[in-house]
């Protein structure tokens, strides 16, 4: 294994600025959507008093969950001392920050009163997991920023490991907190489950790694840098394991639910009768998000090709968005059991008459806001790797593989 060198992203200016302009355009469109939604009020969205969290929350939660997962690659290198992962750490930590920034921006811009962000910073209700998350997110950014500094600055190198371990622990708590936002909602059938917190941690592993793989491959490809099979093979095998773990948690979540009669109606809704939610569950969450990437990654031929790896990572991301959609929107669309043992046959306020699910059709504006979050993430990432040395000059086998000399 040779010494690793890092350098700024060196693609030629027209291409670089072109990319920034394109991403900037998406961010600008999202900004216009926010102005439009804030000026008019939320009636221009598909969100209602029944489906109170919509498309922006799907994207925001996906990005926030992926953020903590993106840090995994760095953690494996630091906290678990895997040498081959060490050169990958800087980009991993950077993505953790930019994904979180993208997700939080979407979340905050969807608030009914985004101008009162200062209030969210000065008024805390410590019983609220939401308030805790504000600390967890801000702290996460600070810790990871420190981590990046210590990784980059050789003078700080001796502190780099403890900070890396702290960042790793922090991200576990952070995703547990994000999962608990739903897990703590006792009122709703789909959410009131402790397993949601660890499931979110596992989901974050998969989504964060998938984003990492795609960004790594793209930035290296356009800059003519080399990634050897050793690195890619490790990453894609890890992705397969994570996708399988998500599948396992999905199974446990629904099987335990199926065991209790009180959850049968909810399970029937998600698994069989829920229309779009059932489709997204089987087609998106299970097939595209879990089975397809597992199949590609462990396929003897496909798993070795770059195209196969890109396809698997893309599938994990698309499946992940479907998963979050089913959890966030599907969980709300299923009417709450306010009166167990009784059916609501008439209501003046949409209580799920005769068990009918609530309707939600996202509008363009709220979807554009969500997509803007992804664009913001990439925009920040591309700016950072252009001005600072985040990317290794090469991840070719002879550089990155600690066992290269031996083999």
């Amino acid at each position: 294994m040779k010494k690793i060198h890092f350098s700024e992203w060196g693609i030629d200016s027209p291409r670089y600025w072109g990319m920034l302009a394109l991403l900037g355009a998406f961010v600008a469109v999202a900004g216009l959507s926010v102005l439009y939604m804030e000026h008019n009020g939320h009636w221009v969205t598909g969100m209602t008093n029944q489906i109170v969290w919509g498309m922006p929350h799907v994207f925001a939660i996906f990005l926030i969950v992926a953020a903590s997962g993106a840090l995994n690659v760095a953690s494996i290198g630091t906290a678990f001392d895997k040498k081959v992962y060490k050169p990958l750490g800087r980009l991993s930590a950077l993505l953790a920050i930019t994904l979180l920034a993208g997700g939080l921006a979407v979340l905050v811009l969807d608030l009914g009163q985004p101008g009162r962000l200062l209030i969210a910073m000065t008024h805390y209700n410590f019983k609220s997991i939401f308030a805790w998350n504000i600390y967890l997110y801000m702290g996460f950014m600070a810790v990871v920023a420190l981590y990046i500094w210590f990784m980059m600055d050789w003078r700080m190198n001796k502190y780099y490991k403890p900070v890396g371990i702290l960042a790793f622990l922090w991200r576990i708590i952070l995703t547990t907190g994000t999962g608990s936002i739903f897990g703590f909602i006792v009122a709703r059938q789909g959410y009131d489950a402790a397993i949601l917190a660890p499931m979110f941690v596992i989901m974050s592993f998969a989504y964060g790694l998938a984003v990492y793989i795609l960004v790594l491959m793209f930035t290296f490809k356009v800059d003519g840098r080399e990634i050897g099979d050793v690195v890619l093979r490790r990453l894609k095998n890890l992705l397969g394991v994570f996708a399988a773990a998500v599948f396992y948690f999905t199974l446990v979540y629904h099987l335990t639910n199926l065991y209790g009669t009180e959850n049968h109606a909810y399970e029937a809704f998600i698994l069989r009768d829920g229309g779009i939610y059932t489709l997204l569950f089987w087609g998106g969450w299970v097939f595209v998000g879990c089975l397809l990437p597992i199949g590609i990654v462990y396929h003897p031929a496909l798993g070795k090709t770059r195209g196969g790896i890109i396809a698997a990572a893309t599938a994990v991301i698309l499946g992940g968005l479907a998963t979050v959609y089913v959890i966030v929107i599907g969980g709300q669309a299923f009417p709450m059991a306010i009166f167990p043992g009784k059916t609501i046959v008439a209501s003046g306020f949409f209580d799920g008459v005769n068990g009918q699910p609530f309707l939600y059709s996202p509008t363009l504006a709220e979807t554009l806001l969500g997509i803007g979050g992804i664009a913001l993430t990439l925009l920040l990432t591309f700016i950072a790797i252009r001005v600072l040395r985040f990317l290794p000059t090469s991840l070719a086998n002879e550089v990155a593989d600690p066992h290269y000399a031996k083999s």
């Binding site: 804030e38 008019n40 009020g41 939320h42 009636w43 598909g46 969100m47 209602t48 008093n49 029944q50 109170v52 969290w53 608030l111 009914g112 009163q113 985004p114 009162r116 962000l117 209030i119 969210a120 008024h123 805390y124 209700n125 019983k127 609220s128 997991i129 939401f130 308030a131 504000i134 936002i181 703590f184 909602i185 006792v186 009122a187 709703r188 709300q332 709450m336 306010i338 009166f339 043992g341 009784k342 059916t343 609501i344 046959v345 008439a346 209501s347 003046g348 306020f349 949409f350 209580d351 609530f358 309707l359």
Partner: protein
């Protein structure tokens, strides 16, 4: 600042408050005026806990009186559909504090009607989850929203087991002095808190119910009508399994 002037002011406010009752709820004028109508000057305490008993047997299916009265009392009828909004979508976005629900027992098919609103829990999940503390329980048991610090995140709506809350989806042109309301905050039934704070003892829905299905009062006062009725008749709390100890109870569901 002269003391006299201040007195005059207070006097004036008193009259204004009493006057509101006359125009808003003509049927209950006598009752409301008989109560001592003076604005509260001391902080509310836990000595009082406001609560309700609703008799589902008396609640008539198809009757909408309590809902209409609440809409009028709290200015919900002033919330207009925005120009260009889709009517069926807007119906799902407009605010409601109280609603009538008809239930059918899955086994027996027996039908029950009842009004649903914020149940004013002793342990309100909405207040637990609220990041800023805007959602809170007042010392006298009323669960309400401090609009000044509500950021509009809607987490309380996710957490409420009774679906009692509404988000204000559009700008509100006309507001009532005693029920401020604006785009981007969450709100719900507050037991007509402005009435209680101005010395009245009834809610608009209770006054409007000609079937006397709603009894409102102080749960901590053993002599109050609501306490007496709760002692006399069997009643239940909705979603009692959640152990939230709501202030609104139902009999004959």
């Amino acid at each position: 600042m002269s003391k006299l002037e201040q007195e005059g002011r207070r006097e004036f406010l008193k009259k204004a408050a009493a006057g509101t009752v006359v125009t808003l709820a003509p049927g209950v004028m006598l009752h409301s005026l008989s109560a001592e109508a003076a604005p509260r000057t001391e902080p509310v305490t836990g000595k009082v806990r406001w609560g309700m008993l609703i008799d589902a047997n008396k609640c008539a299916e198809g009757c909408n009186d309590c809902v209409a009265a609440c809409d009028k009392e709290n200015g919900l009828n002033l919330v207009d559909m925005p120009e260009g909004a889709d009517e069926s979508l807007w119906e799902r976005q407009r605010p409601r504090w109280i609603r009538q629900i008809t239930l059918k027992d899955n086994l027996t098919g027996r039908l029950t009607s009842l009004p649903m609103m914020c149940q004013h829990c002793e342990e309100p999940p909405c207040a637990d989850v609220c990041p800023t503390g805007a959602s809170f329980r007042r010392a006298d048991g009323i669960v309400m929203v401090d609009r000044h610090i509500c950021i509009g995140c809607r987490y309380c709506m996710m957490a409420c087991p009774y679906k009692a809350r509404s988000f204000i989806h559009a700008e509100v042109a006309e507001k009532l002095t005693h029920t401020p309301r604006g785009k981007g905050c969450v709100e719900s039934c507050n037991f007509c808190v402005h009435r209680l704070d101005n010395g009245q003892t009834t809610t608009a829905c209770q006054d409007a119910c000609k079937h006397q299905a709603i009894i409102f009062g102080d749960l901590n006062d053993p002599q109050s009508a609501v306490s007496q009725a709760l002692k006399k008749y069997p009643s239940v709390a909705i979603r009692d399994d959640l152990k939230l100890n709501p202030g609104v109870r139902y009999s004959n569901i």
